[in-house]
């Protein structure tokens, strides 16, 4: 495969990954809005409300992407077209660092220390763990 087609393939896979990330986030928001309407309660009240308002979709995509990239690194030959499209493309587009960093920065600005710290630790611990698990299962 020529370099140009490979680069376009990586970009297209990245677009699919980014769309999946945003679609999951939108679906989660819509689900919470629907539930809030049904129960007649505002979305983020009390302990359970705070738990539901925690950024779960971002954690899910980042941990899933770290696992898949780890598996691809272990199982597929490095630099092959498929490993680049799935790894650099799909996993890279699915996962994101900028949204994560801005989310924690926003929480710090609003002095929500607990939110910033739990988001930081959950991503680091589960993300590195998922990557290590993916590498191990991929035979690395």
């Amino acid at each position: 495969m020529s370099g140009l087609w490979l680069a376009l393939g990586v970009g297209a896979a990245g677009a699919v990954g980014a769309l999946a990330r945003v679609a999951l986030d939108d679906a989660w928001l819509a689900y919470r809005a629907r539930r809030a309407r049904h129960t007649g309660e505002p979305g983020a009240v009390g302990r359970l409300g705070a738990l539901a308002a925690w950024p779960w979709p971002l954690l899910l995509v980042n941990v899933l992407g770290a696992f898949v990239l780890g598996y691809v690194h272990g199982a597929l030959p490095a630099g092959s077209a498929l490993s680049l499209a799935i790894g650099a493309g799909w996993c890279g587009g699915l996962t994101t660092f900028s949204t994560w960093a801005v989310l924690m920065a926003g929480a710090l600005r609003e002095r929500r220390w607990e939110r910033a710290l739990t988001v930081l630790l959950a991503h680091l611990v589960l993300g590195l763990g998922a990557a290590a698990l993916g590498l191990a299962l991929g035979g690395r």
């Binding site: 680069a7 376009l8 990586v10 970009g11 297209a12 896979a13 990245g14 677009a15 699919v16 990954g17 980014a18 769309l19 990330r21 945003v22 986030d25 980042n62 992407g65 770290a66 898949v68 990239l69 780890g70 690194h73 680049l84 790894g87 650099a88 493309g89 996993c91 890279g92 587009g93 699915l94 996962t95 994101t96 660092f97 900028s98 949204t99 994560w100 960093a101 801005v102 924690m104 920065a105 926003g106 710090l108 600005r109 910033a116 930081l120 991503h123 680091l124 993300g127 590195l128 763990g129 998922a130 990557a131 290590a132 993916g134 590498l135 690395r140």
Partner: protein, 119 residues
């Protein structure tokens, strides 16, 4: 959104794809911190009803979660820092990203608010 994700992922691949692994790791760190700074600036601007796409939701989605979300990546640093296991480097890189995002938010909010954007 899709165009933003395509452009972001393609640019990251072109910047890092040809580098050896140590160089790619450093370039990815720079991409992530730079992307966090840029998204911070945009978010700060948007909070004041300023900046590109401040009145156009699809442009905001395309630039923010699309282009910058696709440009920066979490999976690459998670895998690079899981083998060999270097949690300290991961933490340091993340804190640098958060500091960059804080700086960006502050810079973005320096812009005077648009009248109609005030609550």
């Amino acid at each position: 959104m899709a165009a933003g994700g395509f452009a972001g992922a393609l640019t990251r691949y072109l910047l890092t794809g040809s580098l050896p692994s140590a160089g790619a790791e450093l370039a990815t760190a720079a991409i992530n911190v730079g992307g966090a700074l840029t998204l911070g600036v945009l978010t700060g601007l948007w909070a004041h009803g300023r900046g590109p796409g401040s009145r156009t939701a699809w442009l905001r989605a395309g630039l923010g979660p699309g282009a910058l979300g696709g440009f920066t990546t979490f999976s690459a640093i998670a895998v690079a820092l899981a083998d060999p296991f270097r949690p300290g480097v991961a933490l340091a890189q993340t804190l640098l990203g958060v500091a960059a995002a804080l700086l960006g938010l502050w810079l973005g909010r320096l812009a005077p608010a648009r009248d109609e954007a005030r609550p």
